[in-house]
Symmetry: C2
Subunit: 490 residues, 2 copies
């Protein structure tokens, strides 16, 4: 098997190769649409189940709305439609027919729909049409719904997991009686995403507000989480939108408040997608293949027998199955791979490529000494562990790896987060080092655009956790009320 392209040579190519070689996903025959293979999908299942539990614990319920949205409904919120109409899948007919003179099927013109239907790029416009029927009084509020499903946004330049025309995601859509409650919901979700990202995916994030020109179309404020990849570029991990009364006004959704007066409803929407998988792969992996944080690894531990003949194998089998059992009982997912067709060397390579956090090797030497060789994928360290210590050793190592991955990413993020006060210095840093640059911005779209044209860097967010400090815009010299995060991004 040939080696992966090295990160230092071509980070993008390395990323694509890892996805393919570890069996996470591949592109389908349809441009921009991917197939999520079993290994990749099982990571998505862990992400989904973990987040779903967090949403339910905070009072949210799941729901399912139609995937097709009538054009008229889609068009109601003007800014929303202006953005999403530029790349969406439009259903216009419902029959194919065989022409008399040819073999091939063509669209039956008689099956033209009276009104075109758009495959949801996001579901605000069908959900708010429905909320109009559901919301009458303050007693009907809040509505805290979430939907797991697929969506389509036509993309011209795609990348496995990070940007695909179809993606899997969750989209939360909540309705509230007050502005404050809706804002609190937006932030509550941002914190859930942060907790999940940092503690489960081991991805440190910067919480912030998107500059007004980059906010979600139809929102008042978009909060986002930005993570730094190994090459210093930013990846937007998730977003939580405060929608104000934009959708309730567009769809005329009012409620009677406690004083008997009619008011427009306040709302939020928020989502994370299969992009999370791309983020975690890109952030943690190395030149040998995937590295997965133990908490989202579908196989957390693999046991490999090392033997010369059948007799040795059957001795090892007995011990390996016993070790597998005691680790499994601790709640870990353990695979024992004693397939005879593949050599131990092939298996080592395979499971390193697939990013299994912990590998346990058992050979005759280990049997004699009643120990096992434990290998950790993140650091390539090996240590001998006596059998009767395994049950305590493995959970500790599991935590250690999870923490190490987070700490490694955090150290890199900190190291590559720099302050800059002069445009020349800024350009040098962005081009030579990359990373997050904290710099002053005058708050105008024009300045943002110029800086992007000249450096490729964009304003990722206005961070919410740093202390405010006034200054002068790095580009225009005009007043700035706080530093923002600039970076090149995915």
């Amino acid at each position: 098997m040939h080696q992966l392209t090295k990160r230092s040579v071509d980070y993008s190519k390395w990323y694509n190769e890892i996805i393919i070689r570890s069996g996470l996903a591949e592109f389908s025959g349809i441009r921009g649409f991917m197939i999520i293979k079993p290994y990749g999908f099982s990571i998505w299942e862990i992400i989904k189940n973990t987040l779903d539990k967090m949403f339910k614990e905070t009072g949210h319920e799941n729901v399912y709305f139609p995937m097709l949205i009538p054009k008229s409904s889609f068009s109601k919120e003007k800014k929303h439609i202006a953005s999403f109409s530029k790349g969406c899948a439009i259903v216009t007919h419902y029959k194919l027919k065989k022409n008399i003179d040819q073999e091939e099927l063509t669209v039956d013109p008689q099956s033209k729909l009276q009104e075109e239907l758009v495959i949801r790029p996001t579901s605000e416009s069908i959900i708010w049409k429905t909320y109009r029927q559901w919301i009458h009084s303050y007693r009907d509020l809040p509505i805290l719904l979430n939907q797991w499903g697929n969506a389509i946004r036509w993309e011209m330049r795609t990348r496995l997991f990070l940007r695909t025309s179809e993606f899997l995601w969750q989209e939360g859509h909540t309705a509230h009686s007050t502005e404050q409650e809706a804002l609190e919901e937006t932030k509550k979700i941002l914190n859930i995403y942060t907790d999940f990202s940092e503690n489960i995916m081991a991805i440190p994030v910067v919480q912030g507000v998107k500059p007004y020109m980059d906010k979600f179309s139809g929102s008042e404020t978009t909060f986002s989480l930005e993570a730094m990849m190994q090459d210093g570029r930013a990846l937007q991990i998730g977003t939580s939108h405060f929608l104000g009364q934009n959708f309730s006004k567009a769809f005329d959704v009012k409620f009677t408040n406690k004083n008997g007066k009619q008011e427009y409803v306040w709302s939020t929407s928020w989502g994370v997608s299969t992009r999370l998988i791309g983020g975690t792969v890109m952030l943690h992996s190395d030149d040998h293949g995937l590295i997965l944080p133990p908490k989202i690894a579908p196989i957390q531990i693999v046991i490999i027998p090392i033997y010369k003949n059948q007799q040795e194998l059957s001795q090892i089998n007995e011990i390996a199955v016993r070790i597998q059992k005691i680790i499994k009982e601790k709640g870990f997912s353990v695979k024992y791979d004693n397939r005879e067709f593949f050599t131990p060397g092939w298996k080592f390579h395979e499971y390193e490529m697939k990013g299994i956090p912990i590998r346990i090797n058992i050979g005759l030497d280990e049997i004699i000494k009643e120990k096992a060789e434990v290998f950790r994928r993140d650091t390539y360290e090996k240590v001998d562990v006596p059998w009767n210590h395994i049950i305590t050793f493995i959970p500790k190592l599991f935590d250690k790896i999870q923490k190490n991955l987070y700490q490694r990413a955090l150290n890199r993020t900190k190291k590559l987060t720099m302050i800059s006060d002069h445009y020349e210095d800024f350009k040098k840093k962005i081009n030579n080092v990359g990373g997050f640059i904290l710099a002053h911005w005058d708050g105008t779209q024009n300045t943002g655009k110029k800086i992007q044209e000249e450096t490729e860097a964009t304003i990722r967010c206005i961070p919410i956790c740093t202390k405010k400090e006034v200054g002068k815009c790095i580009y225009s010299g005009n007043h700035s009320s706080q530093r923002v995060v600039f970076a090149k991004s995915y």
Copy 2:
């Protein structure tokens, strides 16, 4: 609140009213597309999680394929396409634009796709295109994949859950090196569906083979499960298809067998959908509302306080929370509804409508006597249970209700399953009683069609568990090798 339409008056109307009134689902603004509301969706989550576990325990893995299928790929298997092309959603464009002279958005003709894309009505044609890349040797087989997702089949006459243009489902797609292995897979899945249907959903089923004219387009043999509804009509619960080599030939998927020879791959596909929810509602419920088998009830037990004043309520709260806790610890889902805005009478009605299997009422009288009044939804029976017996009483009652619902349905199915040997008698039974009629059929499509035209009954299946018995066709008098199941159906 007005009463539900009675089953005896209008079974269809009763069914629709229950779905709406219990908050399971509603139709959206788009004809034939439904919104699955939180309560309905939580039933789907239980179905999904339970079946998913059964699939995984038998070696299946989940995967995700694109929802859009290029027309050329869709057209490969001729019988398959002939059937599904008659009602499918076709994507032809990817942009909307605003015309200069008008407000409204129209489809941008410049965004016409080179090749139309069909939203999957089922995924054989995209999956088999991919299997061609994945399968080379016998070592690549079997492939045992399953997908949870949405699909669209354009339906003209729709009914909530039972027949909707978009539905949620799982579709299994397996590939095997031998015919026998593929056939065994088809039957293994049929048995998983049967186990699930009977033991989880409390729905007795008849396993059978579909007559050749009604089999899945592209299959060799379609196995189905047929369940009898309260009005004697049949509902097809799930299907498992033996596809032979039809798709491997259409997509040219060959493998090298152990002897180094090239062979076409054997395959199966199988699925159940949100229709299962419709089946369970229609089969178990009564004139007071929904009845849910305890094993698929999102809320299994509800506790209701009955009080005159705040002091009584706070006394009851203390006991109720304690009881809720001990039942929850046993693994049941229990809700304590002490909302003050609603009266106990309103709550009784509400939870009967929603089909909560067990209700526990606690009032001052119960506090004094240290007991609780336990009500079961299926029989409307009430019994007083001392507090210290509740922990043993509830699990037993839970099992009793689950079994009673199954037994009730089984008794009805048996009672309404009749033998008929004369066409006049057959017609009388079908029209006056309904139910399943076991009768001889000559095996021709023409006879099936005539009987359907004259009686509305169709051949539901050729049952596989009854003993074979030759005879004469009830309609043509020609030879018949075994009795088949006739019924009117949903």
